[in-house]
């Protein structure tokens, strides 16, 4: 077992792209866990007078004193330049950055009440690392909070899918016969549902007073419920061949119970497939959430998710004027790529044929 792990590492380390992908994912997930701390503002901290504020430039060099200075930004004012609204820096007013400053309250790790932010500036000035959205909310902040939903949706979803897939696939494959037929026909039944419409119909039945968080959970569950039959079918196929292996027959001969055989001897052999396919399937969930929010049936304002943020970019006229509203799209792109590279690396490293 130990040598297998070593071998896996040996191959995985060689794959630089997979390592980069993995690294990006670690950074993304860490920043999503500590979103409240890293973000300078609360998720719905509006400043309607700073609508579509551009990216704040952080300066390290003081022109007047001609010396390197503590990082600062200039205050800005709205001007109309060539009919476009722009926020121009006002060089008279310097606003120094503050680190570990007090601001909007949030719950660190979901339960520790806290109001310390990694960085920020004195109100009424605002620092917009990645620009502001229509309501003057910090896009950087909303991306971080949005990642909590967009990134976890894949993990939650895939764990439901895999669990259901393993149970149904394992049972159907191991017992075969009538059980197999019934379960697999049931899977086909579920697969033939048009998932998107199912979700939209469900959305309409949920009363509006239900908080958006439950809506989010419901969305994940529905997405997972639509997706698991595919997984179950592949696992069933693998179990079908595994159950004819000598060690399974040996276990049977020893009088082991069926459940034990499935759990101890058959399913563990499907793990390498499951890990790889799960990693590669997570981007599907992230994109699924994007589509749902885009169609306005997913996460609702004032909560944040990448899909919801990308909704604003439906308007092509904005791409030119306020290109920073495309940040969530960029992050989705990066995340999906990272997952694919990482999954590919896993597959290569876990591939038994490589050991030859």
């Amino acid at each position: 077992m130990d040598s297998r792990k070593k071998r896996f590492w040996k191959y995985f380390k060689k794959n630089k792209i997979a390592l980069i992908g993995g690294g990006i994912l670690v950074i993304l997930y860490l920043s999503s866990i500590f979103a409240g701390l890293i973000a300078p503002y609360g998720v719905n901290n509006l400043r309607t007078d700073l609508c579509f504020h551009s990216l704040s430039k952080i300066h390290f060099y003081d022109i007047e004193k001609k010396a390197i200075s503590f990082p600062f930004i200039y205050s800005t004012k709205l001007v109309t330049h060539k009919y476009q609204r722009k926020y121009q820096e006002d060089y008279k007013q310097k606003v120094y950055l503050k680190f570990f400053t007090k601001g909007d309250s949030y719950k660190l790790l979901g339960f520790v009440p806290c109001n310390i932010h990694l960085f920020g500036v004195e109100e009424p000035y605002r620092i917009y690392l990645l620009g502001a959205d229509r309501f003057g909310r910090d896009i950087f902040t909303r991306l971080l909070y949005g990642s909590q939903i967009s990134l976890s949706i894949g993990l939650v979803g895939i764990s439901i899918t895999v669990t259901l897939g393993m149970i149904f696939g394992g049972l159907a494959g191991y017992y075969g016969g009538l059980v197999d037929t019934l379960l697999m026909r049931f899977c086909e039944l579920l697969m033939s549902f048009p998932g998107l419409y199912l979700i939209m119909a469900l959305r309409a039945t949920v009363p509006p007073t239900v908080p958006s968080t439950y809506m989010y959970l419901l969305t994940v569950v529905v997405l997972a419920l639509v997706h698991w039959p595919g997984r179950a079918r592949v696992i069933r196929g693998q179990v079908l061949s595994l159950r004819e292996q000598e060690y399974v027959i040996a276990a049977k001969a020893c009088g082991m119970s069926d459940i034990r055989i499935i759990l101890r001897h058959i399913l563990p052999n499907t793990f390498s497939y499951i890990i790889v396919s799960a990693t590669l399937a997570i981007p599907g969930y992230i994109l699924g959430e994007t589509i749902l929010s885009y169609l306005n049936v997913g996460i609702q304002e004032p909560q944040s998710s990448w899909g919801l943020m990308l909704r604003e970019a439906q308007n092509i006229a904005f791409w030119n004027q306020y290109p920073w509203i495309l940040w969530p799209g960029f992050l989705i792109f990066i995340t999906v790529l990272a997952f694919n590279f990482f999954g590919d690396g896993l597959r290569d490293a876990l591939d038994p044929k490589r050991e030859k």
Binding site: T48, Y83, Q84, Q321
Partner: protein
């Protein structure tokens, strides 16, 4: 990517349009005996006007159409007895009647129709068409939306034919806006009579009817309708209007409405120079379109105030549903909603400026009252206004017995103040506005849930099931005359949104409005009528049944090569004088 693809497809298809045949100028059709004369600049013939439209006609039946994507096209091909000049906002005799007389008691109107004019299929137009149109409109089985303004005190007009070219219309009482409401489209008897008698009038002139089987009297007639592609109108060779040099109008050969998927495509098509005008520029599209104004060789026109309005209202019903014997609105909440101080407080808590700054990107105006400042002769500037002030709003709530504890508002009985607002999910702007209002209300301690539903189920909530607490919607502006607000203001009205179709006015102020609205209808003298209507506007704003939201500044654009462009605030802002438009020599 998809949108680019669509634009490419549209451009390919527009290119193919260039190969169309030149429309023959049928000068051999003699000019009518009584033509209408336009005093516009004399233009030149030819050319196709291309317009992108995000919707497409659902019907071509002028009586049955009730949404703008149909009526925008149909009204290009119709005429009424009178017409309203969009520029002056006044009634003119450029329609089917060349003149009219009113009796001394102000009730009996005699219209002299133009002689020798024809429908687009060559069939002569006579008084029979007018009589038939009114017969259809007043038919209780058909009941079109327009009929409401043609009934006074529950009585219909009496429409009689004197001879082939004279029609007498008698109103039950003096009816001030008569000449305006009579501008409705007249339909050809010879085309509609058969289906009317067979009882399927609603399906006549549908989108499946062959254009050859339709007859029109307006400056254009339908040439072809290709679903999800385009609607092509071609000049009506029989049109009865001429210019100063006795050339028969219209100048243009064709008007093409290209169907595009959404408003993004509308503005992109215009920017790409593929369409000739754009009726309404969204705030977000203003900057790119304005920036390319010189290069694109077009002009942007600004209209400070639109006629339409959007607002938030509470369901003010206090009665029970007779079928389920349950209250339509939870009595606890109903008590808040029917409290005028509660409504005023919530109106004060709406920050109109921040809505303008963010939703309209600064291009909007703060709106108070049922009438837009664009309706110059009717707008009452002295109505009560509710500027943003959380302090005032809190004072009003305290006065009304509400208590704020830990940032949550409770009523005097200790119920937490929260309600659900419905709006239509297709309209992103409304959802965004609702979210801003929600944010403002949170500061008051009021929790507002937002539930966007599709438009049709929203309409059925408002009109049939009444199972909602609050709603955010808008009303488009038709005409400026107070009569266009009749069905909203009168408690028996179909669009008396907060409690429609009441048998008896629920409150004293609603009863007062009913009385005043009936009174203004029968007051011919403008000054007096205006006084009465000013009072109506005041009562509305004092009682605040509708919490008004800011309006958008209107921007329109048209290519410089089009002559006789006269943008107006009334509907069909650029196309209302379509017969006069022409392409200048380049």
């Amino acid at each position: 990517m998809k949108k680019y693809a669509i634009v490419i497809i549209i451009s390919i298809f527009l290119l193919s349009c260039d190969q169309k045949s030149k429309v023959k100028l049928t000068q051999d059709i003699p000019l009518p005996h009584d033509p209408a004369t336009s005093n516009c600049t004399v233009g030149k013939y030819g050319g196709t006007l291309v317009i992108a439209s995000a919707g497409e006609p659902k019907t071509f039946n002028p009586i049955m159409c009730n949404e703008s994507s149909s009526s925008d096209v149909i009204s290009r091909m119709c005429e009424g007895l009178t017409t309203i000049n969009n520029k002056t906002q006044k009634v003119t005799n450029q329609g089917l009647a060349k003149s009219w007389k009113v009796s001394k008691d102000g009730k009996c109107w005699t219209f002299n129709l133009r002689k020798g004019i024809y429908w687009s299929d060559g069939h002569p137009f006579t008084a029979d068409d007018v009589i038939f149109t009114f017969k259809v409109i007043y038919d209780p089985k058909i009941h079109p939306a327009t009929v409401d303004s043609l009934i006074v005190n529950g009585k219909k007009f009496k429409v009689e034919k004197i001879d082939n070219y004279t029609v007498k219309i008698t109103t039950p009482t003096i009816y001030a806006p008569f000449l305006r409401v009579i501008s409705l489209a007249i339909i050809p008897k010879h085309k509609f009579e058969k289906s009317y008698q067979e009882g399927n009038f609603e399906s006549a002139y549908s989108v499946n009817t062959k254009p050859e089987n339709m007859a029109w009297i307006g400056s254009f007639k339908l040439e072809k309708f290709l679903p999800a592609q385009k609607t092509v109108l071609v000049r009506n060779p029989y049109y009865f209007k001429i210019d100063k040099k006795r050339n028969r109008l219209p100048y243009l050969d064709r008007i093409v409405f290209v169907a595009v998927p959404d408003f993004n495509a509308v503005s992109m098509n215009f920017l790409a120079g593929e369409t000739d005008l754009i009726d309404s520029i969204r705030s977000e599209d203003y900057a790119p379109i304005k920036a390319a104004e010189k290069k694109g060789n077009y002009t942007i026109y600004k209209i400070n105030y639109g006629l339409g309005s959007s607002f938030l209202w509470f369901n003010l019903r206090t009665d029970k549903n007779p079928k389920t014997s349950k209250y339509y609105v939870n009595p606890i909440k109903s008590k808040w909603f029917t409290n005028v101080e509660f409504r005023q407080a919530l109106s004060h808590a709406i920050d109109q400026k921040s809505i303008i700054d963010t939703i309209f990107l600064g291009m909007g105006y703060q709106r108070w009252g049922i009438d837009s400042p664009a309706a110059k002769i009717w707008y009452n500037p002295d109505i009560k206004k509710y500027p943003f002030s959380l302090k005032k709003s809190e004072q009003l709530l305290t006065k009304a017995g509400f208590i704020k504890k830990d940032n949550i508002l409770y009523d005097s009985k200790g119920n937490r103040v929260e309600f659900t607002l419905f709006t239509n999910s297709e309209n992103d702007v409304r959802i965004k506005i609702a979210n801003l209002i929600k944010h403002d209300y949170q500061k008051l301690g009021v929790t507002m849930h937002i539930n966007p539903v599709d438009f049709n189920s929203l309409v059925s909530k408002i009109n049939d099931t009444f199972d909602y607490e609050a709603c955010l919607l808008g009303l488009g502006g038709g005409d400026i005359d107070p009569v266009s607000h009749m069905n909203v203001l009168k408690s028996s009205g179909f669009t008396h949104l907060w409690w429609p179709k009441q048998k008896k006015p629920a409150t004293l102020w609603e009863a007062e409005i009913d009385e005043l609205m009936d009174k203004q209808l029968t007051t011919l003298e403008f000054k007096k009528r205006r006084e009465i209507y000013n009072k109506v506007q005041e009562i509305i704003m004092n009682n605040c049944p509708m919490l008004y939201l800011p309006g958008r500044t209107l921007y329109l654009a048209a290519k410089n090569k089009i002559g006789n462009i006269k943008p107006t605030v009334l509907e069909h802002r650029l196309l209302w004088n379509q017969e006069e438009l022409y392409f200048r020599d380049q």
